[in-house]
Symmetry: C2
Subunit: 493 residues, 2 copies
């Protein structure tokens, strides 16, 4: 077995000495050749033994700490992290952006983990063969042209095909108003570049999608949160804040909202549109799931009832087709499309022409509809077993409102409990949830949490919720006495 004392550095190598040392120690930890909580040698000792400068050791230890392999105790030294038993170490360091994403991907490979946090669809949903066919057809048809710079606004035939698709969804627009993007996340980023200057005000729903909050923060926007109710945004709250603030836009997910799963009533949709007109702001509508309605309710998009050209519509295919294409589109109001086009251009010049051409063919062949039906069927099965299991196993002290479709379910602990604590508790028991703190601007702890069924197969859901139910019962009992410490507001969390 290799040990710390076996480490040697190669001074003739071009690799930095501190990187060499970092890799040596990291490998010892990862390969379980050093016990967790072992104290590493002192800087003085190790620099003497390896005959290198103190700074080399300091840099290596700092890097190990930064990457989560060791932890420091003031006055006592540097210790090996227990990276296998406790992966909080990395979780706690993450910014709000990565938090949700990371939650989603933790231990994805571990088979015994039930991951209710991930929003990634399972690969067996993807129409791989169909995509392979269209890719090859495009390569045969277009050859090298598929690999030139594509125009920034997007491959024209694809925009034309999308216009047709939108027509079927009661959105009437022109090819000029369609902007192809490399996924919905890029859409939010580009719109922020086009519309948000330093200190500008942006409204969001609360809670809302972490990735949007992170973008608005990166533009130094001032973010004002508007509460979500069971039937959509709280119009009173919105009107109140509009008296004080003059937002550039409001970012909303009106159908199967993330994370709450709720959908706006048709009245609220019209009220929001009317307020946007009155107060002269844009509405960014993020539509990632409106296709997944599992009852007869019609999920009008805001864009389909927007008579004032005020709605920027973002359509993602990540959940209903596959995320790895990195392809989405936006419908842009005429007044701002030049700004949006510039922002797209400086972001990545253009979205892959090959992928655009393949997707164009895919849309035109109608494979799209066939696949959506299939996906809808599979998700609906998962949705129904989820609803049934929730009713059966979730303890009565937990409150929730069941959605009519989509993939997210939103729950609340009794008010004095912390969902960050619940997250930790569940993780120790191999269940991953998304705590409410991931969906607020200030990441403050609260009583809410989200369970998603995107990445869980049908047969896992019932057992998962059964387990979740008993974990919740246990949690409600064990954490009852922690009340007083939990609800302290910590702005630095």
């Amino acid at each position: 077995m290799k040990k710390l004392d076996d480490i040697t550095l190669d001074k003739s190598s071009d690799e930095f000495l501190y990187i060499q040392l970092y890799n040596n120690i990291k490998n010892l930890i990862v390969e379980k050749n050093i016990e967790p909580h072992t104290k590493l040698p002192t800087i003085r000792y190790l620099s003497k033994r390896l005959d290198v400068n103190n700074v080399t050791i300091v840099n290596a230890y700092n890097l190990l700490e930064q990457k989560g392999y060791v932890y420091k105790k003031v006055g006592s030294g540097t210790f090996v992290q227990d990276i296998f038993k406790d992966d909080n170490f990395s979780y706690k360091k993450l910014s709000i952006v990565e938090k949700e994403a990371n939650v989603s991907d933790i231990n994805r490979e571990k088979i015994d983990i039930i991951n209710f946090a991930s929003t990634s669809p399972t690969p067996n949903l993807f129409p791989v063969e169909d995509i392979k066919t269209v890719l090859n057809e495009v390569l045969d048809r277009d050859g090298g042209k598929a690999f030139t710079y594509q125009e920034s606004q997007g491959y024209y035939p694809l925009r034309n095909a999308i216009r047709g698709y939108l027509d079927e969804h009661n959105i009437n627009t022109t090819e000029d108003n369609i902007q192809i993007i490399s996924g919905a996340q890029q859409g939010i980023d580009i719109l922020s570049k086009a519309l948000v200057e330093y200190g500008d005000i942006v409204f969001t729903e609360s809670p809302t999608y972490t990735g949007a909050l992170a973008v608005f923060k990166s533009r130094s926007a001032r973010i004002i949160e508007i509460s979500i109710q069971e039937d959509g945004i709280d119009i009173k709250d919105l009107e109140n804040k509009l008296r004080t603030f003059n937002p550039k836009f409001i970012y909303v997910v009106p159908n199967f909202q993330n994370p709450t799963g709720c959908s706006y009533s048709i009245e609220k949709k019209y009220e929001l549109l009317s307020l946007a007109k009155k107060h002269n702001f844009y509405i960014i509508e993020d539509d990632y799931l409106s296709d997944l309605s599992f009852n007869d309710e019609k999920n009008e998009t805001l864009k389909s009832i927007d008579t004032e050209d005020r709605v920027v519509y973002i359509k993602s295919f990540s959940k209903i087709l596959m995320p790895g294409l990195r392809l989405a589109f936006m419908v842009i109001p005429t007044a701002i499309y030049n700004d949006v086009l510039s922002a797209k251009h400086i972001s990545d010049i253009s979205t892959s022409g090959l992928i655009q051409r393949a997707f164009d063919l895919y849309l035109r062949k109608g494979d799209w509809k066939k696949n959506l039906q299939r996906v809808n069927y599979i998700y609906k099965e998962r949705f129904n077993i989820m609803i049934k299991s929730i009713k059966q196993y979730i303890p009565k002290d937990i409150s929730y409102k069941l959605p009519n479709g989509g993939l997210s379910f939103w729950f609340s602990l009794p008010i004095e409990y912390s969902s960050n604590d619940l997250y930790e508790f569940c993780k120790k028991n191999n269940v991953i949830i998304a705590p409410g703190s991931a969906f607020n601007v200030d990441q403050s702890d609260n009583e809410n949490f989200r369970l998603s069924i995107s990445s869980l197969e049908y047969n896992v859901i019932e057992d998962g919720i059964k387990k979740m139910g008993s974990l919740l019962t246990q949690f409600l009992n064990e954490y009852k006495n922690k009340k007083n410490t939990i609800d302290i507001y910590n702005p630095f969390l």
Copy 2:
């Protein structure tokens, strides 16, 4: 023949009336059913005839103007633009970002145009069959996994393969320090998100790549330009400005600089590194062409001689492989890679997993080297005929320094001439060049211009330069008397 008087609007349609009117008039113009410079009906007349609100006509006319189909004369009305004879109309409206890009793509399809502005490689350079093979191999091997969300930092095996590639280029790094990006432009954007806050100072070369300037502007950075000399950046100028300013980073292209084509001497490379250490700033090295040296000179990258982990290295494959992959990578200093990773995540979550996996296979198979040799051979032929033609045909009043490789050639008119004027003059004669104003922060007119051979076949270059030579002679004569009006500085240009 359809005429303006035939226009009718469908009030029962869901399409906005002003969009209907816009499309009607646009089509008449595009289909040459209205003569250029025809006056459009007055707003009052048309609103009465079509029985719609004035605002509908105003909106349609505004949109037509915005898109360049009409122009307005104060007090006289709205007139049809001559979109076929004169495409300046769109050129003039473009922001600095699109300017260079647009110059590159104007009339690409017109066979009689010689385009010295475009930097897009010709599709016949692309190894389409090899890429098709690896795409299919990946789809067979990985199936749906190729379409899940890829980790934001990039597919690990690809980062490993790139580490090997870098090793051969004397850059020693770890997989942890490699960040996969969707093209070099995204790299610049992400680095700016990670490093630049409102009002921060950024240094650039002058002249420099338009797309970088646009990104820094979009972050509200204060951009300080440092002059370029024949052997690289002006160190005196840099030292001077470092006395006053404290930049976050300097953005440089040390080998075959864009647009000047010059390369830094090895002494200047070391001086720059030493100043970065002394004044504590990062260097962003954009390496898009260092592979294309056509003599024995060695083009060390700054990263390969960076002992202080201060260089952020961006490697693009757009010119030497193909731009349409939208794939590039960066080597990130350890101290900032968490920030860069967050910025990547909020920009587009991840680069297409399918493309990453295919490129990984392509690198591992060694197809990469075979292709680079082929591309190098083709570009070298073009380069040599360009050098020969320049010596033979470019008039002696035009000054230039011939580069040792790359694809850009930089020329200067006598000091009192305007290269914006030259651009217009050449375009009328079916030759497209890139004027110097595209490469400055303030887009100010100047005497310099760039000719690029990226998108010109071998057999076009000699004739092109011959034509360019006679155009230049004509221009120098005809525009001699315009001196006085040309060199007025216009901050709003």
